[in-house]
Amino acid sequence: MVDLKVTLSGITLDNPVIPASGTFGYGKEFAELYDLDILGSISFKGTTRDARLGNPLPRIAECPCGLINSVGLQNPGLDAVCEKELPELGKLYHKPLIANISGFSPDEYAACAAAMDKQAQVGIIEVNVSCPNVHNGGMAYGVLPESAAEITRTVKAVTSKPVYIKLSPNVTDIVSIAKACEEAGADGISLINTLLGMRIDINRRKPVIANKMGGFSGPAIFPVAVRMVYQVANAVSIPIIGMGGVSSARDVIEMMMAGATAVQVGAANLVNPFACKEIIEQLPCVCEELGIEKLADIIGIVK
């Protein structure tokens, strides 16, 4: 029997496979297809303080080996998430959750983190710093070490749960940003969020996406994700949740060898709703093929 367990900041997961925020809603649609309790954890849809409709349609563009989305953090807002979505998800999934939070100001991050801190179901708070700082030129918090560190400190101050900072890949030097977060007290790093991309509808001569640009993800971004996980794993000593294009058990193993302790699966859930289930089922078999007895042994094994 292959041992699939991995541990993130003291929380042991039955396996490293976690649906990525924004690609699994609150689990409802998938619970109709399989028992959610097979999952290592679930990172649910990013929560903001207030309800958000998100961006205008169209919000989706197809790409070679991936897609662009500009959902724009649509979510029912902090209160509704805590009062309605989490209790409902609690009936479908019985292990610690990852609460993905977002904000357009340090205050908003703090409000979301403080509320999630009180939710017994939440095991880890995952802080999406790819949102634009609306009070400061609109640059994303995650593109500068200083602002990423600031948000880390803000969130750490209001919660005792482990805090994972989820980094944007659209940067020159991912390592300096990850290190700044580690120094500011982050318990872990999640990466990567989507690459900024764009498609044009050449018939209509307009961007496909109403908002012009959006977040590009799927298998296409996997080599960039592996590279960044590898770089960050070699620079920090806190655990990493790796993601970006993961679609198979082999991809999970590649991410872990690059340095990830756990792995999130995003876009793959959308085109194959059974993606996480199939990956979890295939992991033991692929591990055996590769001579892996304990999955945790391969974390960062590639130097």
């Binding site: 699994f24 349609l57 169209p58 790409c63 085109v271």
Partner: protein, 242 residues
């Protein structure tokens, strides 16, 4: 929703660039006309959503227009080829809405799901009126099929090459109806909305998942945010914000 492997039973061109294809497999979950299926195509990352034209427990028939690379690939499929399909998706039309004089209004490639609806209505004892609009004669489809149901569809063409010259709304002006079921391009839906006392409107959107997980297709309604793929594609007149 299930993931099914469906096998092409037959496929043929109805009009230049418009294909009808029957896919065999377990279709027992389909519960209402107006639902759709989401088809994976080799070499394309996203599935292609196509409405159900007609169905039974063991097959589903679709009618689609080649508008891009994906539908082109679909049109090239041959008997015996198989597709990975998510189905059924969406809410579908609700026939139970009491109406004495229902009208079905279809535009172009929006006509097929209305045929399934008409069939269900006829089976349930109501013979609806049908208006269908096309750009030109070369795009007209399903006239005979509606006739076989005992319905003489009113046809409009934008270029006047067949039926009434003009849009579906030009035909609607001469008809009496108290409820409208409609599917077609959004400008048509909007125009129909203005003439419909009440009714159900089938929408389209670019979709990633097609089953409600990604919020890629959400629109605002009077009753809150709705996902066109899951809470739709049929929206009710009263909830539409126009």
């Amino acid at each position: 929703m299930k993931r099914q492997i469906l096998k092409v039973n037959n496929s043929r061109e109805l009009q230049p660039g418009i294909f009808i294809m029957t896919l065999d497999g377990d279709c027992s979950e389909i519960s209402a006309p107006g639902q759709f299926i989401n088809i994976r195509l080799d070499g394309f990352y996203l599935r292609r959503p196509i409405s159900i034209y007609s169905y039974d427990t063991g097959f589903v028939t679709i009618i689609f227009k080649v508008v891009g690379q994906g539908t082109k690939a679909l049109a090239e499929a041959e008997r015996g080829d198989t597709f990975d399909v998510l189905m059924p998706l969406g809410n579908g039309f609700d026939l139970s809405k009491g109406a004495s004089k229902p009208l079905l209004v279809g535009g172009g490639i929006g006509v097929p799901p209305l045929y399934g609806l008409a069939e269900a209505m006829v089976t349930a004892g109501t013979v609806p009126q049908v208006v269908m609009g096309f750009n030109s004669e070369k795009e007209i489809i399903l006239t005979d099929e509606f006739r076989a149901l005992g319905i003489e569809p009113v046809i409009t063409t934008a270029d006047g090459s067949a039926g009434i010259r003009g849009f579906v709304t030009d035909a609607m002006k001469d008809l009496e109806f108290d409820y409208v079921y409609t599917c077609g391009p959004e400008p048509m839906l909007k125009a129909v909305y203005d003439l419909a006392p009440d009714g159900q409107f089938s929408f389209e959107a670019r979709m990633a998942c097609g089953f409600g997980a990604c919020m890629g297709c959400t629109c605002e309604t009077k009753y809150g945010y709705k996902r066109i793929c899951k809470d739709g594609p049929i929206l009710y007149k009263e909830e539409i914000k126009w």
